[in-house]
């Protein structure tokens, strides 16, 4: 088991290094000189040369890649090309906002989705299942911005209950904070819950058709007992994997939702920086998102392995 964990960790680190290299090389291919762009066309050659030296652009690319990587490991993400602020300062407040939004979404949607998925799986083939499945499939195929715009139209414009834009200013009361987060949170929760419930239904439905579940039923176990004792234990592995996979939906959802509600989060920062072509910020955001994605999938793999009763513990994958 320890060997598996070490192997999986190493694979994750290698993957992250490859991705960092891709991000770096990709941004290298950008036409034009960064220092020239920053200073504008009218800048004197001396100034441009000075800035190039200051940014370390006069170094060869491999050296700059290693310097960038070294900086990341020490929390130094470079300097923004548009605001001239250290990227780490720009990241810190945004990161906590996005983490709050993503964390709360996970906290609400995971239990909700597991419950819905299991109920549908148990009642497979009934009218409840059919209606529920159509609703879920519909929601899975719905873009975030439809849910979000309908939410704004109903709750902020017609009912005037919630603000359409969530400016989270430090020092505002808890109630304002909750109110301004409610619509983004609801949008994210609806989308993620639907995805997760759809997969939960499939996984649990599959397990319920297995012979050992049939045996448990024949021995007289009630459906609650069958689900909790027999099916769930074997579903934990695949379910945890699915939850981790849903982080992908969470990430793409977060980009759209933060834009609609002008929520000051990391994804919004990244989308803005792409438009401004502020590469150090784009690189930093891409690395954070990729690292969290890879990290979560890795943890999910390890946990799934821990709960997999079919394979012998210690056997390598």
């Amino acid at each position: 088991m320890i060997r598996f964990i070490v192997k999986r960790l190493a694979a994750g680190v290698v993957l992250l290094l490859v991705i960092s290299l891709l991000i770096f090389v990709g941004c290298e291919m950008l036409p034009g000189d960064v220092a020239q762009i920053m200073l504008g066309q009218s800048a004197s050659p001396e100034n441009v040369a000075a800035l190039r030296a200051e940014l370390g652009l006069d170094q060869p690319a491999p050296v700059r890649y290693l310097a960038w990587l070294w900086g990341i490991c020490h929390g130094d993400w470079g300097v923004s090309m548009t605001s001239r602020q250290p990227v780490s300062v720009m990241l810190s407040e945004r990161l906590s906002n996005t983490l709050t939004l993503a964390g709360l979404t996970t906290l609400v949607s995971v239990p909700l989705a597991l419950l819905i998925g299991m109920v549908l799986a148990v009642h497979k083939g009934t009218r409840l299942d059919r209606v529920g499945t159509i609703v879920i499939v519909g929601l899975c195929a719905t873009p975030e911005f439809l849910v979000a715009t309908l939410g704004v139209l109903v709750f902020s414009i017609h009912l005037r209950w919630l603000p359409a834009i969530s400016y989270v200013t430090p020092g505002s009361g808890v109630l304002t904070l909750i109110k301004s987060m409610l619509l983004p949170l609801a949008t994210m929760t609806i989308i993620v819950t639907a995805q997760l419930a759809r997969m939960t239904r499939a996984v649990v439905g599959n397990i319920l058709t297995q012979p050992y579940v049939e045996t448990a039923r024949l021995k007289g176990a009630g459906s609650v007992r069958v689900i909790t004792v027999h099916a769930l234990r074997n579903a934990i592995g695949p379910l945890i994997n699915i939850i981790a996979m849903n982080v992908a939906y969470l990430i793409s959802g977060v980009v759209i939702v933060e834009t609609i509600f002008a929520f000051p989060g990391l994804a919004r920062l990244m989308a803005d920086s792409v438009q401004a072509r502020d590469l150090p910020v784009v690189q930093a955001c891409a690395m954070i998102f990729s690292a969290s994605y890879i990290g979560l999938i890795m943890v999910a793999d390890i946990v799934a392995k821990l709960f997999d009763s079919r394979k012998e513990p210690g056997a390598s994958a």
Binding site: V137, T149, S252, I260
Partner: protein, 281 residues
């Protein structure tokens, strides 16, 4: 596939099942979007009223957009952009993914190993993040968007077609064909392809809905199709301010995306249901 299945397929398409209704609706959407220039509609680019967000009326069925252009005409013309680009990139994704996937299953060895590792890397980056980085570098050109979408989804297609291919390789008819001395090209197109057409069709429809959502998302962020051209995602973005005055202008394009995407998903579900019933390949 057994010969007696053809009449069932034919019949089942014309029986009023959910599947045939879904197919009919998809064809209707395609027809309306394609025939839009021939329909008696306003010019999608003409500024018809001096105010933006005119409410729906007999003159403007869905009202006007933020610049006073007819929303219905714009909805249909931008639908052509959305569906056209998504279709193009999904076709590309399948051409790349299926060829590489089946070849990897057939040849194995270093080819399989190398392509599989590349696909692992592509799949380990969230798609929207990969998209943002690529578009930050290339800028939002139509070619960049289509190629980006194709490559991002080709990775998933590769996984599926490789798995399908590996299932086939283990079966006798491939071994027999190999023993007959058939080359890789015949094995690929003559023996394997006919057996994976159905599952790959289902995957194609699913990927198409993903591609529509992905491209609309990029355009919504202002990184996809650029004005004056617009797709459905761009239409949502342009008219987002209308929400503040209660206009439905951003809702219609968002709803269109949802409708097409739901129809495609129902199509896939119906296809798989039918496969199961008839115990297909």
């Amino acid at each position: 596939m057994m010969p007696h299945q053809t009449p069932t397929l034919f019949k089942s398409l014309f029986r009023p099942t959910l599947l045939s209704v879904v197919v009919a609706l998809l064809l209707l959407v395609a027809f309306v979007v394609l025939a839009a220039p021939l329909l008696p509609l306003h010019d999608p680019d003409a500024f018809l009223s001096s105010d933006g967000f005119v409410p729906p009326s007999g003159e403007y069925w869905l009202g006007t957009d933020f610049l006073g252009r007819d929303l219905l005409a714009r909805l249909l013309s931008s639908g052509r952009v959305t569906l056209g680009m998504a279709l193009l990139s999904t076709i590309l994704a399948h051409l790349i993914g299926d060829t590489l996937g089946l070849l990897a299953a057939l040849r194995g060895g270093w080819f399989d190993a190398v392509v599989s590792r590349i696909v692992d890397v592509v799949l380990s980056v969230p798609k929207i993040i990969a998209g943002l980085v690529v578009l930050a570098v290339t800028g939002p050109s139509l070619v960049a968007i289509v190629v980006l979408t194709a490559v991002v989804y080709a990775a998933g297609v590769f996984r599926i077609s490789r798995a399908l291919g590996q299932d086939l390789i283990a079966q006798d008819f491939i071994t027999v064909a190999r023993a007959r001395g058939e080359g890789n090209r015949w094995l690929l197109f003559g023996e394997m392809l006919p057996h994976v057409v159905m599952p790959l069709t289902a995957d194609f429809a699913l990927r198409l809905s993903f591609a529509i959502l992905f491209m609309s998302g990029l355009s919504f962020l202002g990184l996809g199709v650029q004005p004056p051209m617009a797709d459905w995602g761009g239409l949502v973005r342009e008219n987002l301010d209308g929400l503040q005055i209660g206009s439905w202008a951003p809702i219609y394009p968002a709803l269109s995306i949802a409708v097409v995407s739901v129809l495609l998903n129902l199509f896939v579900d119906g296809l798989q249901e039918r496969e199961k019933k008839e115990g297909g390949v």
